[in-house]
Symmetry: C2
Subunit: 324 residues, 2 copies
C-alpha cells in the first residue's frame, strides 16, 4: 500500500488532499505544527486506521519512509505569514531542505507546493511557467515570495545535482471549505463579513483581478501531477519545450474583479445587510494575476471544472457552520 506524507496536512489544502488520498486507499501521514493548520480540519480522518498525525515543525529535520511527500507546509496568507516573517521564510526554506534531504535518502517522490506569489507583481500577463516574475526582495511580503522562490531553486538544485524526483506546482488563489476564516484573504474575508453583516472591505479600486480556483480542482491536479510516471513526465516536458523543468501552474484562468467577487457573494447571501466599502491598497499588493494553464492542460488534460458560483456556495455553507 502506498505510503504518503503530507506536510502542512492539517491546513486548508492538506486536509482536502489527505481525505482524497485516504479515499483512494492509501496510507496517509499528516505532519503539521498547527501554526495555521487546525486539527478540526482532520477530525473526520483521525479514526481511519490508515491515517496518522505527527505534530512536528518541518524546520527541524525528521525521518520516515514514504513513497510520496506532498510539501504543503507554510503559512500562505499575508495576515499569517507577516505575523512572524523570520519563521515564515525559515518554514519555506528549511522545510523544503528537510523534505529534499529525506527524498534524497529514501527515494521518495516529492511534490512541492509553490505559489503564484513567486511571479510577484507580474509584468507579463497571463503568467506562463517560463516567466521569471517581478518580486521585491526586501519588502514586507518578501518573507513569503522570496522564501518560495528560494524553495523552488532548492528543488531544482536537488533535482539537477542529486536526481531527486521533485515536481513543483505553482498554486494560484484557491478557495473552499476548511479555509481559515481569519486568513485575511479576499474570499474568506468577504464571506465572513457578509455573514456577520459587516462592511465588505475592498482594498484599492476593486478593479484589480484575481483568479479563483476551487479546492476540488486543485486536489485533482495535485494527485495527477504526483502520480505521473517520471520518464513519461520528462518525455512530455521535453516535447513541450520544458526539458527537465517539472513545474506547472494551477489555477482558474477566469478573471474576476474584486468588486465582482464581492457582489456575487452578496447575491449568494441574500439575508446579508453588508455594504461594500473601499480602503487603500497595502504595500506591494499585486495588481493583476492570472495563470496560463496550457502546460497542465497539455500534460494532464486537466482544467478547472467547478464554476465560481458553485464553489462559493459550498464555501459559504462551510463558513456558516463555523460561526454557529
Amino acid at each position: 500500500m502506498k505510503k504518503i506524507l503530507i506536510t502542512g496536512g492539517a491546513g486548508f489544502i492538506g486536509s482536502h488532499l489527505a481525505k482524497e488520498l485516504l479515499e483512494k486507499g492509501y496510507e496517509v501521514t499528516v505532519m503539521d505544527n498547527l501554526f495555521t493548520g487546525n486539527k478540526s480540519n482532520i477530525y473526520g480522518l483521525l479514526d481511519n486506521p490508515r491515517f496518522s498525525f505527527i505534530l512536528h515543525d518541518i524546520t527541524k529535520p525528521f525521518w520516515g519512509q514514504f513513497d510520496e511527500i506532498y510539501n504543503l507546509a507554510c503559512p500562505a496568507s499575508p495576515v499569517h505569514y507577516q505575523k512572524n516573517p523570520v519563521e515564515t521564510i525559515k518554514t519555506s526554506i528549511m522545510g523544503i531542505i528537510n523534505v529534499l534531504e529525506l527524498g534524497l535518502k529514501t527515494k521518495a517522490k516529492i511534490l512541492h507546493a509553490s505559489t503564484s506569489e513567486i511571479y510577484g507583481d507580474p509584468l507579463q500577463h497571463p503568467q506562463k511557467e517560463s516567466y521569471w516574475g517581478n518580486v521585491n526582495p526586501i519588502g514586507i511580503r518578501s518573507c513569503y515570495d522570496e522564501g518560495k522562490r528560494a524553495s523552488e531553486t532548492l528543488c531544482m538544485d536537488y533535482l539537477r545535482e542529486y536526481d531527486v524526483d521533485v515536481r513543483i506546482v505553482r498554486i494560484f488563489n484557491t478557495y473552499g471549505p476548511n479555509m481559515h476564516p481569519n486568513d485575511g484573504r479576499v474570499v474568506s474575508n468577504f464571506i465572513m463579513q457578509a455573514l456577520k453583516n459587516q462592511d465588505i472591505t475592498i482594498y484599492g479600486t476593486g478593479n484589480q483581478t484575481r483568479s479563483f480556483q476551487y479546492i476540488e480542482d486543485l486536489i485533482n491536479i495535485l494527485i495527477k501531477f504526483m502520480e505521473k510516471e517520471k520518464e513519461e513526465l520528462y518525455n512530455q516536458l521535453k516535447i513541450l519545450g520544458r526539458e527537465k523543468l517539472p513545474i506547472i501552474n494551477t489555477g482558474n484562468p477566469r478573471e474576476v474583479t474584486i468588486t465582482e467577487l464581492a457582489t456575487k457573494i452578496l447575491q449568494l447571501i441574500p439575508e446579508s445587510r453588508s455594504k461594500i466599502i473601499f480602503k487603500d491598497l497595502p504595500k506591494d499588493d499585486p495588481k493583476r494575476r492570472k495563470p496560463d494553464i496550457t502546460l497542465a492542460k497539455n500534460l494532464f488534460g486537466w482544467e478547472p471544472k467547478i464554476e465560481l458560483e458553485e464553489g462559493l456556495k459550498n464555501t459559504i455553507e462551510y463558513f456558516k457552520k463555523t460561526i454557529i
Copy 2:
C-alpha cells in the same frame, strides 16, 4: 579595542578587508571553510597578535562576541558556485541565518555582502537600489542569485522583526590582487590567458558591458558603511526616501565592453602572444549591468577613485607572481 569577525575572510574581498582593519588597530577574526578562500591570502596576517583564524563552515551555527560582523562567506563566481549548487544556496541562506542569530543574541552590528546578481538580467539601467530585479528562479545561476535574494530578505526580516542592526551592500563586479586565478570571471580569465599566451575567450559578441570596481574602492566603502552610526544612517536614509532600508550599491559606474577590457589587458601585457576569440554566451548570462551609486555618494561622499588601467596593472603584477 573593537572586535571584528569576517566570514569568508580568507577570500578575495575578505583578505583585503582583514588587512585594512588590522591596520586600523582592530582585533580581527577571520572565519572561512577554505572552499574558495585560500590561506595564502592571509599568510601575511597570521603573525599579527590581533589576528585569529577559525576554520569553520558558516552553514553550521557558531558563537563569539564581536562588535562587528562582515558576512562575506559564499562562493561568488559561477565556476565555483555551480560546482555544488545545493551547498552554494545553503551557504548564503543558512550562513546569514547563523550570522543574524548571533547578531540578535550579542547585539553585533552586521554588514551583509550581497551582489549585483540579485538584479539578474536587469530591465532597468543603470540599477538603483529600488529596482526589484529580473531573476530566473529555476535556472543554473539561481543557487547564487536566489540564495542572495533570500539572504537580503532574511536581513530585512531580522531588522524589522528583531531590530538587528544589519546593513546590506550589493557589490558589483570587483577585481584586484588575491582574486582566485581560476574563478572563471572575466578579469582573471583574460589576465591568466594573456600571461599564458592562450587565446582570450569572449563569450557572446563582446559588446555586453560590465563595470569593474577595484578592490581598494570597495574596501573603503565597506568600512565607511559599517562604521556609520545607526541613528545618523537611518536619518539620512529617511531624508533620501529610503526609510529603514540600509542597502547600497557599490561598484564602478564606468561601463566597459568585454572587448575593450580584453584589448586593454593585452596592451598592459605587451609581451603576450594571445589572440581574442569568441564563443557562445552561457545560459542566463546578464547582458548588461551598471550600478547607480548615487545613494552611496549621498550617504558617504564616496565614489570609486582607482582608474581601470591602474587597477589592472596591480592585478597583473599579482597574477604574474602567482604563476611563477
